[in-house]
Symmetry: D2
Subunit: 355 residues, 4 copies
């Protein structure tokens, strides 16, 4: 089974490296007749696009998408949709040092150990640039689930969390941090700027909520909605943890505390809590689907770290390329994309089996 | 793609419900020539088996495995291995009340919403009994990776964590909690007994470590070792969170704090830290692979919870069947099983692509 | 991807050898709510069952199926359906000679070359007994496509073909050859009996037609209905050729001769010919889906054939076990089964993508 | 599972339509370290390229491939290889008539029935132009199996077969028909030219042989080498029949006649015949793997055929675009490509399971 594809019925495959001419995605299984344009895909790519503030990598990529197949007269035809994004602003010479030495915490050593060679420029295939392909693919996936609304936000940077009482969805798009708490956004501006100036990096937590998901999506036991979400999120660059609903907090609770009571309501049951994050037994319950995702600080920092080179000798590694001081920030649109892709797939899967 | 199968090259499919005559697994893709016997599989089933202490469900299941295919003269033949476990101690009448009402937090409502009907006896397909199939399948998977040692333990129950300084691997098998800290085991005995007597339930955290995994297993980008582990663990009954390495803690760190420096050593690089949990870029680094898994308190409790019945009317639900007061305890061997299954699959996958 | 599974959404996995205690199938992805009983599955197994006439193997197997999961109160639950068939009439000692020498034309040598060992008793995994699992799985698949009628028949044995003018569907079930031509059946009785008495074997052609398949099933380009049928049929033991519609005959025609003209009719177009066998561009057209399948004579014959043994030395091999003199005869229900399984899968796949 | 992907470990996905800007393939699972260049891929595309003689479509496509990813410093990196081919010589206006009416025998009606819309220009996704993607993908696949030699040829056009005694492999590349019999090539020149001038089309048979395949590739029972080949070949545009080895001829033989006796030889067994086409029980035997494939005459002919239009009304359809008078001719390099792709996949699959 392809290790560069994701999904079952609505399935996408990505390809491309950071410093080759282009990267892209092929989306297969999309239902026919949906309105799809380059402009629509571009909308989402623009949100993720680097270089829009000083808090993300300064690589300037227009990330203009080309829609090469699968659409006729503005509508999907049911055949594969090829999306291509050219790489424009490569500066490969930045990476000469990395060619020979392994950045600790980066995929350098692991790639070499696996393949015996690697495209070291900008991280090659392991670059976060690949997430542009996911965002483009998800723009298609979103068309499959018009009944669902998805939003992701950064809820914590370097341990400094938002105040839930300040949560304002409209605020998310108003600051460079996808932060729903205007006060936190102010604090983070200072925090991330210090990190950036120090040539350091910092971790973050992204949260995502999908509302409008009907009860019944997902499938026991190895196609569980939460398991697929876990794979989708953990597979994003720099992610080290995934929680559904209350996540690790439930490990400290009793069954009474963790219960999500139901009572009758007009349109299906009304839930009085959502510790479960909208999923039970791997199947959606009709409540909002909630995920939390932990991003590590990127390993590309200016401080020298003890490492080795390809010859196995001792080396000190500093990473001079252009990097995100807090890669979790641009993780928010990627988390949103993966949520859309998983839900679109499960909608079709459910329709296939259950009609 | 089958939603009841897991893995790529070494792939298993499970089937069966809690109160039907049997359940089982079919393991496909196992290399030929490996020594395999019912006794070997039984060893692992016995560790997971219920009813061995008062801290797990009192259902008495011998969980005797039958090895029905794929073995000839004591060795695997490369053909599918069918493992069957009979259900013996069903008491279906315990579930008469659940037939009509939905246990909040359980999969009851979600299954009905999806399929329009469900086998409610003991949770049917959503019962934790299915994990016996995983443990049996993993006994085969372990044969594929003799170079790897795996151990899982409970590190926290209801918020009461072990003291890392007390960690003693030998202790794990000596108490009914898979607890590596003898002092914590004493505290937990009291804690879980109280929960049990109260007809309540409580959450737990399980940790798992695999040593001996060489660098190079795993595959970017949608076959990442950590993503597959996340899916494997999140798909276990009652799991709500998965961390690789330091998990959510890294979201609070800087790049300097999170670095895993390397220095030359005889057999590949020596790492000076393992924040990454042995995986970088989705590929193993040669360090121990570490996972943390959060189990919720089972939703089957004796306290009445507000709910609805199949007709959509208000109902109070108490669950009278035999249940684990802390389902995370028996989660430890299941986490270990899923770790083995993922690693076995990735070993073969790596060998297939990279020789 | 599992090499012992077939299908995409409606997917089945088979396991088991000829001389182990049992064999079976796990059917995944079946829609919920369908009426399913052991008796229904048995109906189809009984048609395929060996030992019912002197023209098939004399191994007496009741082929009683056990339905172990996935059904509750007589209806499918949407969870995997485990079907188990015990082996009863094994005579393993018949195979002592085969243990050491390779039957030419049989899978013996290939299995040893691949796996380094094999269960030689009765062909082990390569035995035609495995097709019982397919027939059982197809009994489930048929429930998914009540709109479709499928019938298969033997159209040729040893080069002696039926007369199409004599075709009588009702005749198929009245003779031991699944022969729709009463006159041919009389001839074949003599022909196959001679082959049987001579300890020889003979080839046959099976044809299959599915009516009621609506236009639109199938999927370009690597999920084509005809490609999936080709894989399904070519994968049956002893099959060496597959044709869709007119098959190889079209290679001799011009475009005018091969056209399937259409004209308006009440329910969709009326086709004036069906050279295409009901499939164009990999998608069903609404016409009957027609397949022809060539079965070789089984390689198990009493005449000594030059061969080698496991040590690589010269050996003369005669096969003394109980075998079908014309394995194509019992191929008819298996071809029918594979047709049902492919169509059921594509119905769900189409529904998933196109609603 | 993606319906636009093929293969298990070495898996490719194709995308693109006849009259959109480009088409291409993404090849996943390729081993690292193999030398790969655009020039290498171009070699094979040039063999299949249209417009090289009057016997193929007059569409002039340079079919220049761009290698967009997965290669670094001239070697494969183990990451997905994206191959893109631009469409240059589209004349969409040729298809105005086809937009409204269905060409009998073509995929027009089936696509509309399935998707409710279609890109009718040049057949859209169902165009034989898609096979360029397969040929490009196979150029990568060939690198995986340097031990194997593959050649395909046209053995029959319109019922006029080559004389096996005249078989000369060197002749295949010397005439525009991939014909190994110089005499037949002369006859075909006249035959196909007449068909072309009449605006008609004609069927053909392509044969393919792979030598150097070691014993042991393939996998029972739903990953059989012959079943995968059957799917691969039947999925090529215009194919209606597939035979392995002697194919349908074996249905007329006895077991004695069909035996492939073996005798000891230095490097494994020597086979005295190859009725089986190099495959037994779904696994290669070490003999040449032989396949025969039947191509229908393309349905695009100038003679008016009775049909219907999208409104369901009667229509006479003549197809005025540029077409192959004998699409089977250019089928030869495509059959060769699919053979390479299937073998490459099974080599890796075998290595994965059996080491």
């Amino acid at each position: 089974m392809s290790v560069n594809s994701f999904g079952r019925l609505s399935r996408f495959t990505t390809w491309g490296e950071s410093h080759r001419p282009a990267l892209g995605a092929v989306v297969d299984g999309c239902p026919p007749g949906l309105e799809l344009s380059e402009a629509w895909v571009q909308t989402f790519l623009d949100v993720r696009r680097p270089g829009q503030s000083k808090f993300t990598t300064q690589r300037k990529e227009p990330d203009q998408v080309k829609l090469l197949s699968g659409v006729f007269e503005g509508r999907t035809t049911g055949t594969p949709i090829s999306l291509l994004i050219e790489n424009v602003d490569q500066r490969s010479k930045d990476y000469s040092e990395v060619a020979e030495s392994y950045r600790p915490g980066h995929a350098d050593y692991a790639y070499d150990a696996k393949y015996g060679l690697r495209d070291y420029r900008g991280g090659g295939r392991s670059s976060a640039r690949e997430t542009a392909s996911r965002v483009a693919a998800a723009a298609v996936g979103r068309l499959v689930i018009p009944e669902v609304s998805i939003r992701a936000w950064v809820s914590e940077i370097g341990g400094d969390a938002i105040n839930p009482d300040n949560f304002d969805a409209a605020e998310i798009g108003r600051n460079p941090f996808f932060c729903p708490d205007a006060e936190a956004a102010v604090r983070w501006e200072k925090l991330v700027d210090e990190i950036r100036l120090a040539g350091s990096s910092i971790g973050a937590v992204v949260e995502c909520e999908a509302t409008g998901v009907p009860a019944g999506w997902g499938a026991p036991l190895y196609g569980k909605l939460d398991a697929d979400l876990a794979a989708a999120m953990m597979g994003i660059n720099a992610v080290k943890g995934v929680e559904i609903g209350d996540g690790f907090a439930v490990a400290r609770l009793t069954g009474e505390q963790n219960a999500d009571p139901m009572r009758p309501a007009e349109a299906g049951p009304e839930f009085l809590a959502n510790h479960a994050g909208g999923i039970a037994g791997g199947i959606s319950t009709g409540q909002p689907v909630r995920v939390r995702v932990a991003f590590k600080p990127t390993s590309s920092i200016l401080t020298a770290v003890e490492s080795i080179n390809r010859a196995g000798e001792s080396a000190q590694v500093r990473t001079k390329g252009r990097h995100d001081p807090c890669v979790g920030i641009r993780g928010a649109p990627v988390v949103e994309a993966m949520m859309a892709l998983v839900l679109a797939d499960h909608k079709l899967l459910h329709r296939g089996q259950c009609g």
